[in-house]
Structures are given as C-alpha cells and as structure tokens.
C-alpha cells in the first residue's frame, strides 16, 4: 500500500507464547526449593485467615519439638513484626517479611528474607503467609507442602467460599477446638465435610494450640513429610546414571 514514502506498512504478527504468567515467580520458587532440598530442610507454607491461629499453632509446635527439631519461621504481615517476636519468644528462629500493602508473599520475598536469616541448619522452616484466604494460594514459594489453618470460629462453609486455597492444601488444621464448648452451633464434622468437598486428597487434623490437643498428630504429619524431603535430597546428591 505505502510504497513511496518509505514509512513501511504495519503487519499484524501473532506470536504463540504459552507461558505461565507467574513464570518469574515460578523460577524463583524453584530456586528456593532447590536450596531447601539441598539442605534437606522441610519448608511449609502456612496459610489461613487473619486470626486463624497460625502463629499460635507454630508456638505450640515449637514448644512440643523443643530440643528435637531446629525450627525457623518467616512471618509475613502487612505491618509490624509482632508475629516474628512471638515466634522468637517461643524458641523459633524468626524473621518478619513486612509486605506493605501486598496481600500475599511471593517467592522473591522469601528468597530475600532468607538472605537475612541463617536457615541452612534448620530442620523445619515455616513460612507464615499473610493472613488471607485468597491471594497466598496463587504464589509458589518453594515449599514442600501447603498447610491451611482454619479456626472453628470462622464458619463451617469457609472452604466452600474460598475453594482455591483448600484445593491447594496438603493439610488443613482445624484450630481453636478448645472454643467449641462456647460454640454450640458449630460442628467440626460439618467443617470437615466442607473441606472434603473442595480438597482433592482431604487430610484434616483437629488441634488446639492452647490445650495441645491434636498437636502430636500434627507433629507426626510433619515427621511423615521428612522422608519425602530426604528422598529429594538424595536424588539431588546422586549424579544421574550415564
């Protein structure tokens, strides 16, 4: 059409991309995961609503594992380092990730935080995500497993309202069961039923950080994840057969 002025015509060129939108985050998460496996460290992404009891569960975990496992935690919050201070007081090596206004942690935030806290001697690293039942589920951090803490006061149908997070969970901890006597209308069975409807391979442990109920079962679940990490570690250390 335009062959006189030399401006050149515009062509529309379709480019097939087929790339995950969060591929940058995926790469950083894979890098984190590589580090964790290299050190045979079990990394757990702990998610749940604000106030679900994530920090309290980790405090109870530290108390129960004192002298048996070395535990570290990264605590994500929009503001304050209160959770990290609480975790430290419970004997956990902790650092906070203050996200400002971001509603979730991403792999780069975790990577950055690990540059400022010694972690390679830890047995377990808990990444306590920002309290939120939506956004944290979307970002891989490099964890070995996702754990969602859901308290009995949040309502029996929360998993149905926020299916994505429960769909991605490897374990759901139903927390604060010491409050049940004050909640006559709440049934743990109905909460579990909601979880089962959205979680592909449902696994639920009912706990109270206050009384210690269910904590042993939770510790057994954690210990059960260790062989998986050890196997990945061995696979990484063994050169592929030529």
């Amino acid at each position: 059409m335009c062959d006189s002025c030399g401006c050149g015509d515009t062509n529309l060129v379709p480019i097939d991309v087929q790339q995950r939108i969060l591929s940058d985050n995926d790469r950083t998460a894979a890098h984190n995961r590589h580090h964790f496996v290299e050190r045979a460290l079990l990394a757990i992404n702990v998610m749940g609503s604000p106030g679900a009891g994530k920090t309290a569960v980790l405090e109870a975990t530290a108390r129960a594992l004192h002298g048996r496992r070395l535990i570290g935690a990264l605590a994500g919050d929009l503001a304050t380092d209160h959770d990290a201070r609480r975790l430290e007081a419970a004997g956990i090596r902790a650092s906070s990730i203050t996200t400002g206004s971001a509603c979730h942690l991403d792999a780069a935030m975790v990577h950055h935080a690990l540059h400022h806290m010694p972690w390679s001697d830890l047995d377990y690293l808990f990444v306590e995500n920002v309290g939120n039942l939506v956004c944290p589920a979307v970002y891989d951090l490099g964890q070995a497993a996702n754990v969602v803490v859901l308290s009995v006061t949040e309502g029996e149908d929360k998993p149905l309202k926020y299916p994505v997070m429960f769909h991605k969970a490897d374990l759901v901890l139903i927390s604060k069961i010491d409050l049940l006597p004050a909640l006559p209308d709440i049934s743990v069975d109905r909460i579990e039923e909601s979880v089962r409807r959205v979680m592909p391979d449902p696994r639920v442990i009912v706990v109270s950080a206050r009384t210690g109920a269910g904590i042993d079962e939770w510790l057994a679940w954690l210990a059960g994840q260790e062989p998986r990490v050890a196997a990945s570690h061995t696979a990484m250390a063994t050169p592929p057969a030529s």
């Binding site: 515009t10 062509n11 060129v13 480019i15 995950r20 939506v134 979307v138």
Partner: protein, 84 residues
C-alpha cells in the same frame, strides 16, 4: 487483590515479547485463566486497563478464555510490526 501483581507480571512478559520481535505496538493479548487459578477475571481486566495506559499496550484488549483447572497462562500476543 493480587490481580495487580498478576497484571504486572503479564505486562512485563508482553513487553518482553514485543521488544524481542521489534514490535511498534501490541494489538491483542490473549490469556487463559482457570476457574481455580485464584484470579478474578473482572479485576484482572480492570487492572489491565489501568496498566496499559500510555504504554505500547495502550490499544491492546485483554482477551480472556476461561477454562477449568488452575491455568494462568499468556497464550498469545498479536504484535504490530513495521515492514522494513
């Protein structure tokens, strides 16, 4: 509300595609969003309209195909490339 963070990642990928193909403008952006991706399509579209202002993507609509599963994928871009 992590859709802005998703759109930032999407925008960066699209601009990288445009640069490597020497495009003068981005004409269309096609994404595939799964029901279980955790992304709200309405918010994503709003975020895209905010991000693209005064960029190479200014005139590029975001075409969304919704699927089952948790896909969050940039499928295709249509670029305007000048003949030389």
């Amino acid at each position: 509300m992590h859709e802005y963070s998703i759109v930032q990642a999407l925008y960066d990928t699209v601009v990288a595609q445009a640069a490597s193909n020497h495009a003068t403008r981005v004409h269309e952006v096609h994404v595939r969003i799964g029901e279980l991706s955790g992304v709200d399509v309405g918010l994503l579209e709003t975020a895209w309209k905010t991000f693209r202002v005064r960029t190479i993507c200014e005139a590029a609509p975001l075409e969304v195909s919704r699927v089952a599963g948790d896909d969050l994928v940039l499928e295709r871009v249509v670029l305007e490339v000048r003949d030389v």
